[in-house]
């Protein structure tokens, strides 16, 4: 069903024939009218970031810190424009305060994409340690989160999670696992 929906979308949107993980994420954002995408850069996210910059539908730009990006999309939501934040695992680790003091208590449907480092071939000990803090933080605030490992599940999980975040006015974290993206390995 998810694949069928994606194929329908691909007939109307230019570039939608892209079945890469980043192509599916971009099209799902667009279909859900998420047009504001601040990010803190990440090597694995680079093709997605490049394609967002190339598509005039999106306003996308780097921020100095992840919490700054959370502030921006929270303000945009209140002003009637949908956004999502892109970051890496270590960036998520800087967000506990803004999640607990802005996104959750003010009921902001904060949509986060986290490129997962620290597992499945990590070469930096610090990254592997900080990765272990991510899910406990999400769980401690009872936040919805999904770890996406399969390309054939990506569109379904992403599309449904965005819709759930908006309708329940609650944040969601979509964790892009190396099984999906290839991750970052020592020889890259």
């Amino acid at each position: 069903m998810a694949v069928a929906e994606q194929q329908t979308a691909s007939q109307v949107a230019p570039g939608a024939g892209d079945k890469s993980w980043h192509g599916i994420v971009l099209q799902t954002l667009k279909r859900n009218e998420i047009s504001l995408v601040p990010y803190v850069p990440d090597r694995v996210l680079t093709p997605l970031i490049s394609n967002l910059h190339a598509d005039p539908f999106f306003t996308t730009f780097a921020t100095a810190r992840e919490e700054e990006a959370v502030g921006i999309v929270s303000g945009a939501w209140m002003g009637g424009r949908r956004g999502a934040v892109l970051m890496q695992t270590s960036g998520f680790a800087t967000l506990a305060n803004v999640l607990a003091s802005l996104a959750v208590p003010y009921q902001i449907p904060l949509i986060m994409f986290v490129s997962e480092r620290g597992t499945l071939g990590e070469f930096n000990y610090g990254q592997s340690l900080v990765c272990r803090t991510m899910r406990p933080v999400l769980d401690s605030l009872a936040l919805e989160h999904h770890t996406i490992t399969r390309l054939d599940e990506l569109e379904f999980i992403t599309d449904r999670s965005i819709k759930q975040a908006v309708t329940t006015q609650a944040p969601v974290a979509l964790i892009l696992n190396p099984l999906l993206t290839g991750g970052k390995t020592f020889d890259k």
Binding site: L36, T63, E67, G71, I72, A76, M78, G80, R81
Partner: protein, 198 residues
């Protein structure tokens, strides 16, 4: 540029003067603590948003509102301690150049609400110089209350973001915002025309 040549004003007075100038349902984002306490005390408006945490994010939140509603002027009120926590936001705003965003920094050189510990703005850090160096060319100290009002009027019709820094005294806020985050957010969205009440 020398901040010591500027008059030391009062946050509640300056905030009240700003609110008095708003005639077009401009949005106002009040930073954590005394900054939004005085915004609250100046009289609640449906277009006011009050932060109850997330120190340093008044400018980013205001940037988001400004990007969502480019035809509405958006003001953000922030303290010097809060701004020093999130200086990168200045260069982000300078890069995007939203024409409708006006940043106001209430600089008392102290973390007033936590016990008046000094911030670097009291001695070595110049907020306007930092903003200018971050790429915000339209940044200025308000010399006195009349100059503040003149700078606000100038920013009202500007085509680039403006930052106005105000040296203020060490007085605490004169009110206390009602700490109801969901209601604050919902009423703000009503005030911005995004939603209708149930």
């Amino acid at each position: 540029m020398d901040t010591r040549n500027t008059k030391v004003m009062n946050r509640f007075d300056v905030t009240s003067r700003l609110i008095g100038k708003l005639k077009h349902e401009e949005a106002v984002i009040g930073g954590i603590g005394n900054t939004n306490f005085d915004l609250w005390a100046a009289g609640h408006r449906p277009q006011n948003f009050y932060m109850l945490g997330s120190m340093g994010l008044a400018f980013p939140i205001a940037l988001g509102v400004a990007l969502a509603q480019p035809d509405r002027r958006v003001f953000a009120l922030e303290g010097d301690g809060s701004l020093l926590m999130q200086l990168g936001a200045l260069s982000t705003i300078a890069t995007l150049k939203p024409k409708n965003l006006i940043m106001i920094v209430m600089d008392n050189g102290i973390y007033q609400i936590t016990g008046a510990q000094p911030t670097p703005a009291a001695s070595v850090a110049d907020i306007v110089a930092i903003a200018t160096g971050s790429g915000l060319a339209n940044s200025a100290w308000a010399a006195d209350e009349e100059d503040f009002e003149r700078l606000v009027e100038e920013a009202m019709s500007a085509v680039e973001p403006h930052l106005i820094a105000v040296r203020i005294d060490d007085k605490p806020g004169v009110g206390t915002t009602r700490r109801d985050p969901v209601q604050i957010r919902e009423r703000f969205m009503h005030g911005l025309g995004v939603r209708e009440p149930l």
